[in-house]
């Protein structure tokens, strides 16, 4: 019979669950990852692969920066290059007003002590993006960012974790989380697992786990849509966004162009189905052609959307539980968590192992969603999933 006890139970085998499991194993913890499907099945395996510090919420910048340092030595960590390629990330300004906003942002970051985002004028923009449309006036760039292969990355983290003894229970859904004494019990499709610590990395499905821990939060399942074209002549070496309309645009080494940008399809988390809404995706096609006229001749070979969890304020929960000591959360990355995976995993492992971290995670506390009258903790009615 398999060993069903561990120091740490991680719920969710996405990039965050796998990264936290790996980092926890590196600290000597015995870890089990409980995954309802297979590793990287949802947003972690099928996102656009952007490794981006550019344009992040100010609160995320320090963690994103820490993660970026890991990305630059990713192969040392997971024995796989993860398809990571260093490339500039550039947000294009289509008007002077857009450019003014970008300049203000760069100034704000400098005041915070971060120098990685730089303003590009008309000529500098074209030096990086020779194929950009005539009307684009400038941009904002983070030159040492890049992109990677999302499934290859998540799979590499899981393999490295496995090689350090982490056990992955796939096709094994966490149904109920309870506390028995000081241990957490997770009832799954395939029996009960028991651990001293619990980490909720459930993505779009994390809200239910949080609810069972007595701290309900609203996690909206979303399906960020992406499309990929057939191979095209090389015309773009940067990852390109847009200041005033949704866009994420990159040409891969094989010439195909991956276009996303956060427009959402229909997510049905109960059945794992995500559906594309082409009347929406149409706008993505328009934007891509507007920024790069060469795209008029491109043909789409596939489109897709992975199911992702979005928080009401658009930034993740990276937080100890406010109700159960020894439980932690890292979820709700709201369509921009891939780059943060390596860094957040390291932070979560530190939290789990030591109970503390110096990383500035206060803005991501789960308590920010607690009803004001009851901000201090749980109410008895919210802990129905827990039995002592």
């Amino acid at each position: 019979m398999t060993n069903r006890t561990a120091d740490l139970l991680v719920i969710g085998g996405g990039i965050h669950g796998c990264s936290a499991a790996l980092h926890a194993a590196m600290r000597g913890l015995d870890v089990v990852v409980i995954e309802k499907d297979t590793v990287g099945r949802h947003a972690s395996g099928v996102n656009a692969g952007g490794v981006r510090r550019l344009g992040r919420h100010y609160a995320e910048v320090p963690i994103s920066q820490r993660s970026m340092e890991i990305w630059h030595r990713i192969e040392d960590l997971v024995d796989d290059d993860c398809g990571f390629q260093r490339a500039p990330q550039i947000k294009v300004a289509e008007s002077e007003a857009d450019l003014d906003e970008l300049k203000a942002r760069a100034a704000h970051l400098r005041a915070m002590g971060f120098e990685h985002e730089v303003v590009l004028d008309r000529g500098e923009l074209r030096a990086h993006l020779p194929a950009v449309a005539e009307h684009c006036v400038g941009g904002l760039a983070s030159l040492d960012d890049g992109f990677a292969q999302p499934y290859q990355t998540t799979f590499a983290f899981s393999r490295k974790a496995r090689s350090l003894g982490v056990r992955f229970e796939e096709n094994c859904r966490a149904q109920r989380v309870t506390r028995v004494g000081s241990d957490f019990k997770v009832t799954t499709d395939r029996g009960v697992f028991s651990g001293r610590r619990l980490l909720n990395c459930g993505g779009a499905w994390a809200g239910e786990i949080a609810r069972q821990l007595g701290e309900p939060v609203e996690v909206e399942p979303t399906a960020p849509m992406m499309l990929v074209t057939g191979r095209m002549p090389r015309f773009c070496t940067a990852v390109v966004g847009n200041q005033s309309r949704p866009l994420s645009f990159k040409q891969m080494a094989n010439g195909t162009v991956v276009i996303g940008g956060g427009l959402r399809g229909r997510a049905l988390p109960e059945t794992n189905v995500s559906e594309l809404i082409f009347s929406e995706l149409r706008r993505t096609a328009e934007t891509a052609i507007a920024i790069f006229p060469i795209m008029k001749g491109a043909s789409i070979v596939r489109s897709w959307a992975g199911i992702e969890g979005r928080m009401p304020d658009g930034i993740p929960v990276i937080s100890p539980s406010s109700t159960q000591e020894g439980a932690y959360h890292a979820f709700g990355f709201s369509s921009h968590g891939f780059q943060m995976g390596p860094g957040v995993g390291e932070i979560m492992a530190e939290l789990v192992a030591t109970g503390r971290t110096n990383a500035p995670i206060a803005p991501f506390a789960i308590t920010r969603f607690a009803p004001e009258a009851d901000a201090s903790g749980s109410s008895p009615t919210q802990t129905e999933g827990l039995s002592a």
Partner: protein, 461 residues
């Protein structure tokens, strides 16, 4: 947006017969088809065939022409040259025609998209000069073109049909290399009695084989370890038969390992599928009225499981009758008769499936053989990904890009599932198949950008 009681995708025998029956029941009906004229693959260009090509089709010609005529007279709306690229859960169909995308809504949707040839990865199969038997046959039917040195390689009824048609056309194949292992004859013999109601098919099969023999076409049986030689184009095909290595020089090789349901459309709609061991292929899970697990979505014709043109037309009619019944129309008195005839027509299938099941040799290409042609992924790379822990085709796809190219796995999907299943010691039914994503066929980005641009004009109508 236009809306119809029934939208049928595909104008082969199933689609045409379904449309005619649906119209007879008074249902508003639209048929979308990729080809310029109705007929599907089996009756391709049937309305414009000259006497020479009619002779090629033999007795089947009259049947095809009759179905096409009934379809044309039915009053069903019909858009030729229409490439359906998406169908969503509300049965809204997006299709491309005349350089623009259009949308239409269906109360009931019928996928009559037929069959495709089973992928046959083997050394040299991607060389110029190598095609499939189905493609060679279409060329013959539509343009009368035959290659004089064509070597047919593989297994299945179509191999013999194509050979006999080429003989009729006066250009017999240079050789037939059949991959049916000897043991298959014993396996097939068990089904002979049950197949007797289908004696006409058996008689036709024997007639085709006799024609090949009479024409003096060399036939190599029980062939294994097939490889196509050539640097920049095919120059020869080599194989082992009768414990001897053979080499036939040729610039043209046509491969065939039977046909399998084209699942792209039912996959994109998230219909459930099952792996059928006898047909060695994934089939949509269907009710006895050919309704998928998605209510209101039906499959008629070979897409429901390989049954041939006669069955396809009967299934098409049965589907239309069911849709009419659901819409509260009186049910045709012919339904019971059709069902009996359909069962009789299928009698020969177990025998054919046992005899022509792809050989293990064909199902397990060597490591160096390219399997996914779009992304140039070999069987060995797929096995390596499995060894690393990739549990199924979707992980292999994400990891290696296999199936990510313009054909979205139509050319490699079954082979990839088979290779993964064998490497994991499982059945294809547990490793499953690629998730298929729209667009079903490549679509211009500019066409997507213009999607819905026609709306104002429609409103003015």
């Amino acid at each position: 947006m236009n809306s119809y009681d029934v939208v049928i995708v595909g104008a082969g025998p199933a689609g045409m017969a379904c449309a005619a029956e649906a119209r007879q029941a008074g249902l508003s009906t639209l048929v979308l088809d990729e080809q310029p004229r109705p007929g599907g693959q089996i009756f391709r260009d049937i309305e414009v065939s000259d006497p020479g090509r009619r002779a090629l089709l033999g007795k089947d010609y009259a049947e095809g022409a009759r179905i096409a005529e009934a379809f044309r007279a039915s009053g069903a709306d019909y858009v030729s040259g229409a490439v359906v690229w998406n169908i969503d859960s509300a049965k809204r169909i997006d299709y491309s025609a005349g350089g623009r995308s259009h949308s239409v809504e269906a109360k009931s949707l019928v996928a009559a998209t037929g069959a495709i040839e089973r992928p046959t990865p083997m050394p040299g199969w991607t060389l110029p000069g190598v095609t499939t038997v189905g493609a060679a046959q279409i060329l013959l039917k539509t343009s009368g073109i035959v290659f004089e040195d064509l070597v047919l390689v593989g297994s299945g009824p179509l191999l013999w049909l194509a050979a006999s048609q080429m003989i009729t056309a006066g250009v017999p194949p240079k050789a037939i290399v059949e991959t049916v292992p000897k043991s298959r004859y014993r396996a097939a013999a068990r089904h002979v009695l049950r197949a007797l109601p289908g004696w006409r098919y058996l008689a036709k099969g024997f007639a085709m084989m006799r024609a090949v023999k009479r024409a003096g076409v060399p036939v190599h049986r029980d062939a294994e370890d097939i490889a196509i030689e050539g640097d920049s184009a095919a120059t020869a095909v080599t194989f082992t038969s009768g414990s001897k290595r053979h080499r036939i020089e040729t610039a043209h090789v046509a491969l065939h390992q039977g046909v399998v349901p084209n699942q792209q459309m039912t996959r994109v709609m998230n219909c459930q599928h099952r792996f059928d061991e006898s047909q060695r292929a994934f089939l949509p899970v269907l009710s006895e009225d050919f309704e998928t697990t998605v209510p209101g979505v039906f499959v008629a014709g070979d897409g429901a499981g390989i049954g041939g043109a006669k069955s396809a037309a009967m299934r098409g009619r049965l589907v239309a009758m069911r849709i009419a019944e659901t819409a509260g129309k009186p049910v045709s008195g012919e339904r019971a008769k059709l069902r009996t005839a359909l069962a009789r027509d299928a009698a020969v299938r177990p025998l054919l499936e046992a005899l022509y099941a792809p050989s293990d040799d064909v199902l397990s290409p060597a490591d160096a053989v390219m399997v996914c042609r779009c992304e140039e992924i070999t069987a060995g790379q797929i096995r390596e990904a499995v060894a690393l822990g990739a549990p199924g085709p979707n992980q292999v796809k994400s990891f290696l890009r296999a199936g990510m190219g313009p054909c979205q796995g139509r050319m490699c999907g079954l082979a990839v599932s088979e290779i993964i299943a064998a490497a994991r010691g499982e059945s294809p039914s547990t490793v499953d198949y690629y998730r298929i994503r729209p667009p079903l066929k490549p679509l211009l980005l500019s066409e997507l950008a213009g999607l819905g641009a026609e709306a104002p004009r429609e409103a003015a109508e």
